[in-house]
Symmetry: C2
Subunit: 462 residues, 2 copies
């Protein structure tokens, strides 16, 4: 098998495939991340939840990764007046983990290479694939072209996947990419002079401000990595250091002393806001020779914290299909495609939905009431009433079933509420009639009055 891409999903998938006994050649266009000084682009830390953890457990890496992560039990909301309030993610013992992308990637690559079935080739860029013959061609950093013919070419090569581009030439692929008007920029809150965390550690900090938002995740070195999400036009409207400080003083005043005014200025003015894209496609396979997974198949906006988790769960899904069809790619690949597309489309939709929800709703009282009601019902009916976030982050319920189940729960809630409303109306009507009765107004009088009123309208307005 050829795996194209040595990022998080590519490296993990290599572990899974090698463990099944396949001979795997992994090709990565960048140099070995374990030897690099700086790594450009992409977020620095990520939120690992149940789906991702389960996949890591299956290749024996969960504990190693958890040791290098930081638990986050709740969101910590930073209000514009500087006050803070936590909102639990689920029950007290449920948490997501802040993990370092680079460290995780290194752990996965090292684990993959430990298996004698695996060979990693860095600085090899995909040139083309032929899904009839299974031949993939790469060009290395010396300009040399390398061809490799295999039984399966797997594209784990991210949102701008080269394998996907080759698939689009070879098969009728439905494809959709959508950029959102927001960009993101990473800022930092350094450790205190005493080398301590400057904010509560075990939280995902959020500054929700409707049109924009900032979040911060803790790092092992006692710093926080902040990500600022804003429409590109607002990023572009901040042209000078003065603009920047005015903006921060107005919107995120409590973050300025934490970041340090000079550091904030230096990072912001020298950085560029990056775009976010949502990608859906179908199918994920070509013949019995090509497959795309992870961001190559379903890039999503980052607002549900499920991008990596969904990609890791892809590896489990493929593993299960290979079990079911005894490593027969001609059956396993179509089956994977068919089952996984619905789930990937569902989590892409949820992430896009949260793009609006997260900025606006964590600020609204209705949202908080709903969260509380949701959690209350969860406590009363722990097996039948599960909040959507809990299903997505803390279970492996298929994503599309999370949405279906949520809809069902919402319908029940609507029915209960509208039932309550009917009872209320009934009580009002009865009270009204009773008052009429006490005052000697009969039902007959009421209907006569109504008829009189009706007759009094000019005919055209009836």
């Amino acid at each position: 098998v050829v795996v194209v891409g040595g990022g998080l999903v590519g490296a993990l998938n290599t572990c899974f495939l090698a463990k099944r006994g396949f001979i795997v050649d992994l090709y990565e266009k960048r140099s070995d991340i374990r030897k690099a000084e700086h790594v450009k682009g992409r977020s620095i830390n990520l939120a690992l939840s149940t789906r991702g953890r389960t996949a890591l457990r299956m290749v024996g890496l969960e504990d190693t990764v958890l040791e290098n992560g930081i638990r986050m039990h709740a969101r910590m909301i930073h209000d514009p007046d500087g006050s803070r309030r936590p909102i639990l993610y689920g029950k007290e013992d449920q948490y997501i983990m802040s993990v370092d992308r680079r460290r995780l990637n290194e752990v996965l690559l090292t684990a993959a290479e430990k298996n004698p079935n695996v060979t990693c080739h860095f600085e090899h860029k995909l040139v083309s694939c032929d899904f009839k013959t299974g031949e993939a061609e790469f060009i290395n950093n010396e300009g040399k072209r390398i061809k490799k013919t295999v039984d399966l070419i797997v594209g784990n090569d991210g949102a701008f996947s080269g394998v996907r581009k080759e698939m689009m030439k070879a098969t009728l692929l439905d494809y959709q990419q959508q950029y959102i008007p927001h960009g993101y920029m990473e800022l930092t809150i350094p450790p205190s002079p005493k080398d301590e965390y400057l904010m509560e550690t075990n939280y995902l900090h959020i500054w929700p401000r409707n049109e924009f938002m900032m979040i911060a995740l803790p790092n092992l070195d006692k710093s926080f990595t902040c990500t600022l999400f804003m429409p590109f036009e607002i990023f572009n409207s901040i042209k000078t250091e003065e603009d920047l400080m005015n903006f921060f003083r107005d919107k995120f005043p409590d973050s300025i002393p934490l970041m340090g005014e000079e550091t904030l200025k230096q990072i912001f003015m020298s950085s560029k806001a990056l775009p976010m894209v949502s990608i859906k496609c179908s199918p994920y396979h070509v013949e019995d020779k090509g497959l795309i997974m992870g961001d190559a198949a379903h890039a999503m906006v980052p607002f549900y914290g499920q991008g990596m988790n969904a990609g890791f769960e892809d590896c489990i899904a493929l593993d299960e299909m290979l079990d079911l069809y005894k490593n027969d790619f001609s059956k396993a690949l179509p089956a994977y495609s068919e089952t996984r597309t619905v789930d990937a489309h569902a989590i892409c939709d949820l992430a896009m939905y949260n793009y609006v929800e997260m900025r606006k709703s964590v600020n609204s009282k209705l949202f908080l009431m709903r969260k509380k009601l949701d959690n209350l019902l969860f406590t009363i009916f722990p097996n039948s009433w599960i909040p959507l976030y809990t299903m997505v982050a803390f279970t492996r319920t298929r994503y599309h079933l999370c949405i279906a189940r949520r809809k069902h729960q919402d319908e029940i809630l609507t029915k209960v509420l509208s039932g309550g409303m009917m009872v209320l109306l009934g009580v009002c009507a009865l009270s009204g009639l009773r008052i009429c009765n006490q005052r000697g107004i009969t039902f007959q009088t009421l209907t006569d009055k109504a008829m009189e009123l009706w007759e009094s309208f000019p005919p055209v307005n009836r």
Copy 2:
């Protein structure tokens, strides 16, 4: 200006741009269609309606094209039992035109080349564009690379547009492509031995069969070109000549003697069903240097007969924006993008909607009743009640307004119908009460009976 693509829209657009005074270089990757013996792929004839005609009129070509077209006043429905019935497209004097794709392309290229501002380069394939500098690179059939730097690069290069691919590298382009499960195959009904049309000439013939459909458009040489639309899986299930004849005898019996059994077998067995794709994207421009139009910007499924018409109307839309902004590309291109995307998305949606409608509904009585009611209301209120098809095919009402207006009309219809229903119910209730009254049953008795009935239900069913 560089125009990439010398198909229908590219050639017409060149006429428009040259007429405005721009020096235009048109690059087409295929050889000159006027010198080719056979032209592969794409449909043979097309339905030209008002939008396309208006654009042709603006460059002085309407009459030439109409002389070479055949009027179609109505659909001619072929029922499975062989009976035929016409359904008018609009009023008696409204018609669409069947035109020959190749001949139209030839007329447009010749007209373009007549303008001294225009140079056509055939067998030149696009290699790359730079939308910062305005440089476009081509490779000709001898392998020579040609560079051209201009003020504007226009992609009129079809659904698989090379210019669009270059734009996707240069800007954040939202993009969607969707293949439908149906493929199409062209068949033919030749002229009679006496060189006459074998079916009524001035109609678009339709054999609606729910899951699949055949249509036929008349050609000037007295033949008809038929297009068979079916799910690929049905195409693939027809493996032998026997399968084919069984299928045609069952579904399109009246077409067999017209096509001729041997010709049908020969064409079908040697042809391959082709896919259909719907493409939407946004925006249509990059900076002040790049623009895509026609199928490159909005390929659609062919079921509204508007693909070419929409592409031709694009040329008018650009011309209007260039008028408005005095040829300033930095203003005209964003304005074109913004206004034209909503209309192009609307017609793509309508075409997809008709993909279902055309196969199913022309067969249903409800559809026919609605068409009749629609046309009746159109006759009574010719200025305010315009059927959707009429707006799309016989006016230049912006596509998105056609949909909006249709929705508004549907709402009125619903209100009128539900109003009528209320009156009907009221009349029934009054008649009922009158009968009760005549039989000596009082209102009090009726309500008592109702209460009795209510009480008789077991509590759980209430």
